[in-house]
């Protein structure tokens, strides 16, 4: 299996191939998200004057990294669509969507991850306990 098929393949072959593509894409997405998170942390260090706990600031930066990741992922999707031949874009075929499942899972997963983290962050802000982690 060549590497371009892993990223830009539009033809459904079989389930193991789909699972493999899905795992690969998840792995790469996690790596990209981690890189973005790291970049955000280093690019926007916590201001010393504002007494925000480090845990909060890291959580907040992670929340910021998720939309940034979505932007990067959207750029990938753009290329994914534009590099495909029109004959390959069979929007009426269910197998077409089956083949797009890894991208859809990541898209939805990131949004769900954002919402979960956001609500967790808000909850921790409202906590009266000493330890906010």
């Amino acid at each position: 299996m060549d590497i371009s098929n892993l990223f830009f393949g539009l033809e459904y072959r079989n389930v193991p191939d789909l699972i493999l593509r899905c795992l690969f894409l998840l792995l790469v997405s996690a790596l990209v998200l981690w890189l973005i998170y790291l970049a955000v942390i280093k690019a926007f260090p916590a201001k010393k004057k504002i007494n925000v706990p480090r845990d909060f600031s890291l959580k907040l930066r992670f929340l910021a990294a998720l939309p940034l990741f979505l932007v990067v992922f959207s750029v990938y999707i753009y290329f994914f669509i534009t590099t495909a031949k029109p004959s390959q874009l069979q929007w009426q075929q269910p197998s077409f969507y089956l083949n797009l499942l890894p991208q859809l899972i990541i898209y939805a997963g990131v949004i769900i991850l954002f919402l979960i983290n956001y609500s967790g962050y808000v909850k921790s802000l409202k906590k009266t306990e000493v330890n906010y982690a």
Partner: protein, 824 residues
């Protein structure tokens, strides 16, 4: 040329007279005394003190301690050198508890007892030294003049007045001019002695004793040994001349209504004597004495027309003081940048500001602990990141990270963060105390409202409560076991997810260690905050900082200050145990009473014909000239801190407030010349009838004489009868107007009838000395006072009514004369 002069008041009456002298001198010169005069007063009542004056009170108090009469008298009796035959029985207390208890014998014993004699001798010598160097050109005049004054009614005056005169003669060699001015009681409104028998008996005893030493027929008799070992032997009478005055006038003129009025007249007399009258009197009396037209006793008539400038100034000063003190204790309003603000309306803003102040304070206090050294050179705040690295990289020797962190923060370990913070917690406490102090000090200084400061302190308590409640909610407490439990949770949390994946584990752990350190600070300061809160709310004792002794403000202190300021204003009625309290409103009423007292022979006149109008005009002028629409603390204490001033000493606050307010405002009123002078002769030109009425009162002596309806006073060319004023033309205008318009020619405008005293402003005085009777006998109060025979009878009848033998009565009342001799 004025002579060096010592004026000595005996007892409370003596003090009041000397105060009046000082007052008159201040009115006319702006000073309390001239350089050649010293004021002293002797007192047996420990609660009697000189009152307030605009400038430093120059009256020196000499306290005759009668603390333990019994011991003192027994000790005098045991002294074999002394003649103790006059001493009263040791076990008795007198007619009352105050001072000499109304017994002349106790009064005399007070002078002799304990260290009192030495103290009086020292005071007289010091006063003499102070005036002796006064530059007098004529050699003969270098001997000082001594005026001794007081009343012959109580125990102190009647007990001391003869010894004191001889003591002065003994201490100041060759002194001749020792004069006495003594007040005796009048007949009273009902003309009887009922209820005041002992006072009249004391007067009788005093007059008899004085005459015993004064009358020529008895010859020399003052020969004794003083308790300090010095001896005194005199052949002359104690006083060169004794003036006797009472509230009663001779003739049909109504009496002076109050004792204060008489003090005023006595004060005016002594004041005039140190201001030029004595020289004129002596010039004339020399001839009177040589020709036996004057003896050792005298009295006088005295009246005046006065524009009461000093009273006006004091009244205005009190008005301004009241305005200022009422500003300080106004529960509803305060001033900010000249605007009056409703306190309730401003509460929300004040609450917000005060909460912010509290938070800032707490942060500062906590921050101060960051620099605490856990080891030499290792400050806690900087040590945390090092510890985080040690933990994250397992560079410690402990069995686990948990144990390592526990040892850093546990109360059960020594040499760790816990111990370091605990040992330095006073530092944080001091910052909080200082912060509270600065908040209240700043507020009181800036807004001059004690109720506003009180509100702020209450808000601070609210902020403290909120803080402590929050800590309670997060299960934080000052108790060690609870801290240990919390620490366990903290460590577990600290060691959880540390963001190693993004290489933030050191920062995260440092941050968590820091959070735990903050919690440790809270745990250790919690009890201190509770103590601070309780001290503010209900503390009886002050909590102070380790350095600089800065005091934590307390509600009780504020309430106490508010109460004292209120009492000084006169918001509440004076309680029985607060006789010594100085009350502005009471003083204001006293001035009004004095101004409106028509029974004293001083006619008060005003340019606007009304005292109140004068006060209003002067107040307006003061505010205009000083450009001060609202009085402020700067008028009283300048730039000094008002809080420090008010909280310094509660015991003296009332006195200080009263004194400082009146004196400082008076000073400013004088500086801005808010009360203008008045030319009295202008008034006489307009109202000659009123002027004549008041001048007539000076023709009558201030003592009722003529017991046999045959002898009364007569005038003589050698006996002074004067109009005293600022300058000759003014006096002449007055005399001429009285002669021309009223046909009143009792006072002449020749050189013997006029006394010009340059500095005498706003007053014109009529003075007539008395001492010669119309049968050419010399005045003697033991013969010529109207009630002298009644007094004699009363003196001899009263002991029987009081269950005492004549001898016991004599020992108590007449300590200067041996019983047998008096009987003879």
């Amino acid at each position: 040329m004025p002579k060096p002069t010592i004026i000595m008041g005996i007892g409370t009456s003596g003090l009041r007279i000397v105060e009046q002298v000082q007052h008159f001198y201040y009115e006319n010169t702006g000073r309390n005394k001239p350089d050649h005069v010293e004021y002293l007063y002797l007192e047996t009542d420990e609660n009697s003190y000189p009152g307030i004056t605009a400038l430093k009170n120059e009256i020196k108090r000499v306290y005759l301690d009668l603390g333990d009469k019994e011991t003192m008298i027994n000790s005098l009796k045991k002294d074999a050198r002394l003649d103790g035959s006059w001493l009263p029985p040791a076990g008795e207390t007198g007619d009352n508890d105050a001072g000499a208890g109304g017994w002349p014998a106790f009064g005399r014993a007070a002078l002799w007892g304990f260290q009192n004699f030495n103290q009086v001798a020292k005071s007289v010598s010091n006063a003499f030294s102070a005036v002796a160097n006064y530059d007098v050109k004529e050699g003969d005049d270098s001997k000082p003049v001594v005026f001794i004054t007081g009343s012959l009614t109580g125990g102190t005056g009647t007990g001391v007045f003869i010894d004191l005169a001889y003591m002065v003669r003994n201490l100041i060699p060759d002194i001749d001019d020792v004069f006495g001015l003594f007040l005796i009681p009048g007949l009273g409104k009902e003309g009887g002695f009922s209820g005041k028998e002992t006072i009249y008996c004391n007067t009788y005893a005093a007059l008899k004793s004085l005459d015993y030493f004064t009358s020529k027929r008895n010859g020399p008799k003052y020969e004794l040994l003083y308790p300090n070992g010095s001896s005194a032997k005199f052949e002359k009478s104690p006083y060169k001349l004794v003036q006797i005055i009472s509230q009663d006038y001779d003739g049909s003129v109504p009496s002076i209504g109050t004792l204060d009025g008489l003090y005023k007249m006595a004060g005016l007399y002594v004041f005039l004597n140190i201001y030029g009258l004595r020289e004129e009197r002596m010039r004339r009396l020399v001839d009177a004495w040589q020709n036996e037209h004057m003896g050792k006793y005298g009295t006088f008539g005295l009246s005046a027309i006065q524009y009461p400038k000093a009273q006006l100034e004091e009244f205005l000063a009190i008005d301004l003081s009241l305005e200022l003190l009422n500003r300080w204790i106004d529960p509803n309003m305060y001033y900010a940048q000249g605007n009056k603000i409703q306190m309730n309306a401003a509460r929300t803003g004040i609450l917000k500001e005060t909460f912010i102040h509290f938070e800032k304070l707490l942060r500062e206090a906590f921050k101060s602990l960051d620099t605490v050294e856990v080891e030499k050179g290792r400050q806690i705040a900087n040590d945390l990141s090092r510890q985080a690295r040690i933990i994250n990289f397992k560079e410690h020797q402990e069995e686990s990270d948990y144990v390592y962190i526990w040892k850093l923060f546990s109360s059960q370990q020594a040499g760790n963060y816990y111990e370091a913070i605990r040992h330095n917690i006073k530092r944080a406490e001091d910052i909080i105390i200082t912060g509270f102090h600065e908040l209240i000090t700043g507020s009181v200084d800036r807004y001059e409202s004690l109720y506003l400061a009180r509100m702020q302190l209450q808000i601070m308590i609210e902020a403290l409560d909120n803080c402590l409640n929050y800590w309670k909610n997060i299960k934080l407490s000052g108790q060690q076991p609870k801290w240990e439990a919390m620490l366990d949770e903290q460590i577990k949390w600290m060691l959880k997810k540390r963001y190693k994946s993004v290489f933030e584990q050191n920062n995260v752990l440092t941050d968590r260690l820091n959070t735990t350190l903050e919690l440790l600070k809270m745990h250790l300061i919690a009890n201190k905050l509770v103590a601070i809160r309780n001290n503010i709310v209900e503390g009886d004792f002050s909590v102070v900082t380790f350095e600089h002794n800065i005091e934590l403000p307390r509600l009780k202190v504020l309430d106490e200050i508010i109460s004292i300021v209120g009492k000084t204003v006169g918001k509440d009625e004076r309680q029985k145990d607060e006789k010594q309290l100085n009350v502005l409103k009471a003083r204001k009423a006293e001035i009004l009473d004095d101004i409106q007292d028509n029974s004293i022979p001083i006619l008060r006149v005003y340019p606007s014909n009304s005292f109140k109008e004068e006060v209003k005009n002067s107040n307006h002028r003061y505010k205009q000239l000083s450009s001060k629409s609202i009085p402020s603390k700067n008028d009283i204490i300048g730039e000094a801190s008002l809080w420090t001033y008010l909280s310094r000493s509660k015991d003296t606050l009332n006195k200080n407030l009263y004194f400082d307010c009146i004196s400082q405002f008076e000073r400013d009123i004088r500086r801005y010349e808010s009360v203008k002078d008045m030319v009295i002769s202008d008034y006489v030109q307009k109202e000659p009838r009123e002027a004549q009425k008041i001048a007539t009162r000076a023709l009558y002596a201030l003592a009722k004489v003529n017991p046999d309806q045959a002898t009364t006073f007569r005038d003589h060319m050698y006996i002074p009868k004067l109009v005293i004023g600022q300058d000759q033309p003014t006096i002449n205008r007055v005399i001429e107007k009285l002669v021309d318009d009223m046909n009143f020619n009792e006072f002449s405008n020749d050189k013997n009838g006029v006394l010009e005293i340059g500095g005498l402003k706003n007053i014109l005085v009529f003075y007539a000395e008395k001492g010669l009777m119309n049968n050419n006998n010399l005045f003697n109060p033991t013969q010529h006072l109207r009630y002298i025979r009644d007094l004699e009878k009363l003196y001899h009848d009263t002991p029987r009514d009081r269950g005492r033998s004549p001898q016991e009565w004599h020992i108590i009342r007449m300590p200067y004369i041996k019983f047998q001799k008096e009987e003879n």
